[in-house]
Symmetry: C2
Subunit: 358 residues, 2 copies
DNA sequence: ATGAAAGCGCTAACAA
DNA sequence: TTGTTAGCGCTTTCAT
């Protein structure tokens, strides 16, 4: 409802814009490498060498050139550099939606390392329920990015094909996809989920459910759900409770009634924002947490510590995942050796107040 | 502390990478506009026209070219396009840190409109307490972005200078800066804060404090703080309580003790994440909200509804601000007329449970 | 409606 | 150590 209002509001504003059009005069860049060369009495090649830190330049020459660069406020045109060198020092970062902290914390790790290595980031989001026909991927590929960090849980065939044709390195960050051409940095999702489930079991909970965003995503299909079924089998539990397509705070809040009527007494959720919804719904229904109902979130952002009672969660090293993924990408982009293309980082289960056992 | 751990962890990982280097073989793009032209028996110019939707092409010719494009999987090189046309269909988005939802919700508005108009986004973050010497700004300018959305609360002289030399449109989103060369989309911060303060006053609170992130930011210095002082003057209040540099949940949590000992009974905070910290600290200190202590957040993200009691807050139309800013930017980039370069959007004060008066 | 040709600003052989 | 030159892949006049 609020979303609808938002959108109505904006369309009104957009409609009210004046649509007059002026002629656009194209103009060349004011000061180019050629100007610097002329002013410094050297060739373009020498200026280029100075700009790129090539050591084959006499110190006096270098200083002379730098002085001119400074005086003219010369700045290299990265587009021209990119065309000539076939390297753009730009990486594509593909995320599944912008409005979640999980992405933000990963992105910080990526950004810090990217900045350290002087790469710029082209950010592209593929919203969850939008069918990606590969266009957005193709669009960043056309921009000649040197590599891509991919954070979505699925990849369309078109996108896969586009990546393979582009022949640039791709590293998955905080996700796993059924494609071993890509590097990856993640945690052991299968093990982490199993530990969370055992924790709930040890607390005496019997009807434990799994709540996921997208059943078909490989990370769920291939790890979380497998882990859950293994857990059920090992404990001789017959009934399986998997709730799918739970994405937002509201989804979580609204799901609780169903969980309750299904007799569920503990859940592992994919996202802490949905866990927050469940917690609040439980409290509003006078269900006591953790005595009557336990929750563990498989993901932990700032939200996990704001919710009261504070969420027990699997704490992934989000910043590290982003940073290590980006570091791996810089190596792949420079064709340096990478010892291990599939890195598994450690995680912790932080026991707070949505579980009994401390 | 957690941050320190994070960083230690990552440095270990980075250090363990193998550093072997291979020679990098540069290769030309596989299929270019030239290949298409040859295969279709037309000139490059014609292919270019087809690619760019120029209508001056016979239908048969167009179809023939499109067939070849399809067969060869031709994709235009955006870098070459950018160099030749001096337009990159890329915009820079500058944000003050990645890890807050306030940015994320604005970014979604920006991203949606950018996608609609086929612009890519180069995302750059300027972390709060880092002195920006203009390098990150210059770096995106060198990439020849066609325009910039700027979301930080301050701008260094170097950055200002770089923008003015680059001569591209800049639109401020959700912020105000002391520079009228830029377009802007925001709400009336002065009025909104005043209304929040009056609300607290009407509830009988007498010692009302203002909590800001950065006293020197123009948006605070020129609007919020002015508004606060006017409020004090109008009510004949002598003592001014402004708390500066409160940025995180923990900052808010830790600040509460001081607020309490200073005799504060109500606050307006800049960010809802710090408000959340204050709320939790108050509850942990057995101070009842809103009876003994009231809080209004001047910003409202998803966090405002997760905190219990739910935050009373000034709800800015974040999505709209981003979307309208981006829409304005598209117009400026195409040299179209823009009726009003400084747009003020409506806001609401959402009364929830951290204030008495409903 | 189509083609020829001159750049866009830079890098990177290759020479000197 | 420095300069010459030929592109990188595309757009855009200007002819035709």
């Amino acid at each position: 409802m609020q979303n609808i209002n938002n959108h109505l509001q904006i369309y009104c504003f957009l409609a009210n814009f004046n649509l007059g059009i002026e002629v656009f005069k194209m103009q060349k860049q004011d000061v180019t490498i050629y100007d610097v060369a002329r002013e410094a009495n050297v060739s373009m090649a020498t200026v280029s060498r100075v700009v790129n830190g090539n050591t084959n330049v006499r110190k006096e020459t270098r200083d002379k050139v730098l002085a001119v660069i400074d005086r003219l406020h010369y700045q290299p045109n990265a587009v021209a550099q990119g065309l000539a060198s076939k390297k753009t020092t730009t990486v594509g970062v593909v995320v599944p939606g912008l409005t979640n902290l999980h992405f933000a914390e990963l992105a910080k790790g990526i950004d810090d390392i990217a900045t350290m290595y002087k790469y710029n980031i082209i950010l592209t989001s593929i919203e969850n329920n939008v069918i990606d026909n590969g266009n957005v991927i193709q669009s960043i590929l056309n921009k000649q990015v040197d590599g891509v960090i991919y954070m979505c849980n699925t990849m369309s065939p078109k996108a896969t094909e586009a990546f393979s044709r582009a022949n640039i390195p791709v590293v998955l960050a905080g996700t796993i996809i059924d494609n071993d051409h890509f590097g990856s940095v993640a945690i052991d999702y299968k093990e982490a989920d199993r530990k969370a489930l055992e924790l709930l079991w040890k607390d005496g909970k019997k009807n434990i459910a799994l709540i996921v965003d997208d059943k078909e995503a490989y990370i769920n299909r291939g790890f979380r759900i497998k882990s859950y079924r293994q857990f059920l089998a090992d404990h001789g539990i017959k009934s399986e409770y998997i709730y799918d397509n739970i994405l937002t705070f509201e989804d979580g809040y609204n799901l609780f009634a169903k969980l309750y009527s299904d007799g569920i007494d503990a859940v592992v959720t994919t996202k802490d924002i949905t866990a927050a919804g469940i917690v609040n719904a439980a409290l509003d229904s006078q269900v006591s947490i953790p005595e009557q109902f336990e929750i563990i979130s498989a993901t932990s952002t700032n939200i996990a510590k704001i919710v009261r009672p504070q969420l027990t969660s699997i704490q992934q090293p989000l910043y590290d995942i982003g940073a290590v993924a980006m570091r791996m990408l810089t190596k792949l982009m420079k064709n340096e050796d990478v010892a291990e293309k599939n890195i598994v980082l450690p995680y912790q289960i932080l026991k707070h107040n949505t579980t009994l056992n401390k």
